[in-house]
């Protein structure tokens, strides 16, 4: 093979696969979203914007958006905040930092589905360790807290099946699983800040730790933060494992945990309503691509101050 032709053989397969596996499906989804297609029924009809109209008017899909945005809205700030907090703390202690780092990273490695099932046990109203532990606190000073006293009087919440708690509990597990990932990204970001900058800031009168953080650490972590926020958004938009493990049917109490990936799965795969599933896919892709484009735009504007 001559060097002048080699690139065709080298890049060709990858280009072909990119078109077939990544680009073509977007067009298929876009096309199908205007039909009432279902597998095994070849007589699909063109229905115009009916699927989209449904997504933006029906209360089921309103719940889907509320659940998804609540989850993203809770998980992203908390995983980013806790990730940064943990990184700063670990970086500032003189001993045992590596041990904490290892522990906090464990949930990232463990299969989320397996851990979701374990959480379900831990949160079980009668045999779960969490409510049992809470019950043990009854009769102590904790009862001054009215929420706690109520729990002791009746029962502690059914974390996963109570409509008022379900989405928050699922979000908590999302935070539990994700913040270690952000932590290591921030730790990497912290090590790349030149030490002299702190000395310089000190010379200029940045005396308190907060000043140093505000004037040096935070601006220097700008690029890391942009990336961490974007990837956290994309990951939390795609939440599925926990929801499916807890609520195989229906998306939780009162559809309060009916997130988008689960909606695609339920509508298209379980109920064979491919048109509506494709429309949700298109909306979903729209969100995710927009997020990444915003990130790239921010990075290109050079959010960092160097």
């Amino acid at each position: 093979m001559s060097p002048s032709r080699a690139h065709i053989w080298f890049a060709g397969p990858a280009i072909l696969l990119m078109f077939v596996i990544l680009i073509l499906p977007i067009f298929i989804a876009a096309g199908l979203s205007f039909t009432n297609y279902s597998l095994g029924n070849d007589g699909a009809q063109f229905v115009g914007f009916q699927n989209y109209e449904r997504i933006f008017t029906r209360s089921t899909y309103e719940k889907m958006f509320i659940a998804t945005f609540t989850y993203v809205g809770v998980v992203v700030p908390l995983t980013v905040g806790l990730g940064l907090g943990a990184a700063l703390l670990i970086n500032s202690v003189t001993r045992f930092g590596d041990i904490y780092k290892t522990i906090y990273f464990l949930p990232v490695m463990a299969a989320l589905l397996a851990m979701a099932i374990v959480w379900e046990f831990a949160l079980h109203p009668t045999i779960g360790i969490i409510n049992a532990t809470l019950t043990r606190g009854c009769g102590t000073f904790l009862e001054n807290w009215s929420w706690y006293a109520q729990g002791c009087e009746r029962t502690f919440p059914l974390w996963l099946t109570d409509r008022d708690y379900a989405i928050w509990t699922v979000s908590f597990i999302g935070v539990w699983q994700g913040f270690g990932f952000n932590m290591v990204l921030y730790l990497a970001g912290l090590t790349s800040i030149p030490r002299e900058l702190y000395h310089a800031a000190e010379m200029d009168g940045a005396k308190s730790g907060w000043d140093r953080f505000r004037l040096v650490t935070w601006p220097m972590l700008g690029p890391t933060t942009v990336f961490v926020v974007t990837i956290s958004c994309i990951r939390s938009f795609q939440v599925f494992d926990t929801v499916e493990a807890f609520y195989p049917q229906g998306g939780g109490p009162g559809k309060s945990v009916f997130v988008m990936m689960f909606a695609i799965y339920e509508k298209a795969i379980q109920q064979n309503l491919m048109g509506i599933g494709a429309a949700i896919t298109v909306v979903f892709l729209g969100f995710v691509m927009m997020l990444t484009l915003i990130q790239r735009w921010l990075v290109e504007r050079r959010v960092h101050y160097t």
């Binding site: 080298f10 890049a11 596996i21 490695m109 990837i231």
Partner: protein
């Protein structure tokens, strides 16, 4: 390096930052208190998982027995149902839980499937991505920039998000419920191409020119010159890829329906949960332990590499 970032008192931060002199400081103790509380919350489900996998059903129900359970013999009702005498059916909880995990469901088969799928995916990703990355970084050809722009565009698309059209395509060609269905969507890793291209850019052209002088073909340059230089990046990518696909649940859930022989570990565990009654909590947790352990152990052994690999996506 930046030990002093959070310290409220600059004067304290300096002597403690070298770590050689141990001095009690309230700030330091507070930090450890916060970090320890965090660690306990993070470890809670792992504690529950391992503990339940060791205990007898009655101990799980009544929450007695501490971490290890008393390990007293208990009667296996299923064994009695099979017509065995009661004294032959006394089992030790830990042994019961783990043997049931492997016997009740073909757990070994699931694990084997997991290994087959994750490794096939990785190998194919490398075979596709490496030559492409080489062509994008070291060969000059018309359209190269366009192809790289295409790679950058494809980085925007999460494969899970286009799962539905991919599923329709696969079912149209009759490939659902097969290893191929589990592997095909992941054969192209634009991220891998991007990563290897960035890495190859740093390899000096002289090295390749020298290889060409020696009469090496472009093909053997990739596998005999470029590949060995790329081992660190490749290793990190391997970890990234294997962790993602061993733990993946969404895609196998969609394309594998019913055929247990093709279940990956997460699917197998999910199936187990579906028909779990009181006696099966122990075995189920044992299954979870078996599925989660390989990656956790590998992570504990090669932490630095794992963290590098998992956070690879942070490299820009």
């Amino acid at each position: 390096m930046t030990d002093a970032v959070l310290d409220n008192t600059p004067s304290l931060a300096k002597p403690s930052s070298d770590g050689s002199v141990f001095r009690f400081s309230t700030t330091e103790a507070m930090k450890h208190a916060v970090l320890i509380v965090g660690a306990l919350i993070v470890l809670l489900p792992f504690y529950v998982m391992v503990s339940y996998s060791l205990k007898a059903p009655s101990e799980i129900m009544t929450q007695t027995g501490g971490f290890f359970g008393t390990q007293e013999l208990f009667r296996d009702d299923f064994c009695i149902k099979l017509g065995n005498a009661a004294e032959d059916c006394m089992v030790r909880p830990i042994i019961y839980n783990y043997t049931t995990a492997f016997e009740k469901a073909p757990l070994l088969r699931y694990m084997l499937n997991g290994v087959i799928v994750t490794f096939s995916i990785f190998i194919i990703q490398v075979i596709v991505a490496l030559p492409c990355a080489y062509a994008l970084s070291k060969l000059r050809w018309w359209g190269r920039e366009t192809v790289f722009a295409l790679v950058l565009f494809c980085l925007l698309i999460p494969v899970h998000a286009i799962a539905l059209p991919l599923y329709i395509m696969l079912s149209k060609v009759g490939l659902t419920n097969s290893y191929a269905a589990l592997i095909i969507p992941w054969t192209i890793s634009v991220f891998g191409i991007f990563l290897m291209r960035q890495f190859f850019m740093t390899v000096p052209d002289d090295l390749i020119d020298a290889a060409r002088m020696d009469g090496m073909s472009e093909y053997s340059i990739i596998w005999n010159v470029m590949l060995p230089t790329a081992i660190p990046a490749l290793l990190a990518f391997a970890i990234f890829s294997v962790v993602a696909h061993w733990n993946d649940y969404f895609w196998p859930r969609i394309v594998i329906t019913g055929n247990r022989d093709l279940f990956t570990p997460p699917l197998g565990l999910r199936e187990f949960k579906g028909d779990a009654d009181g006696d099966n909590f122990g075995p189920m947790m044992a299954t979870a332990v078996v599925i989660v352990t390989p990656l956790i152990v590998a992570f504990l052994i090669a932490q630095r590499r794992f963290i590098e690999g998992i956070t690879l996506s942070g490299m820009k």
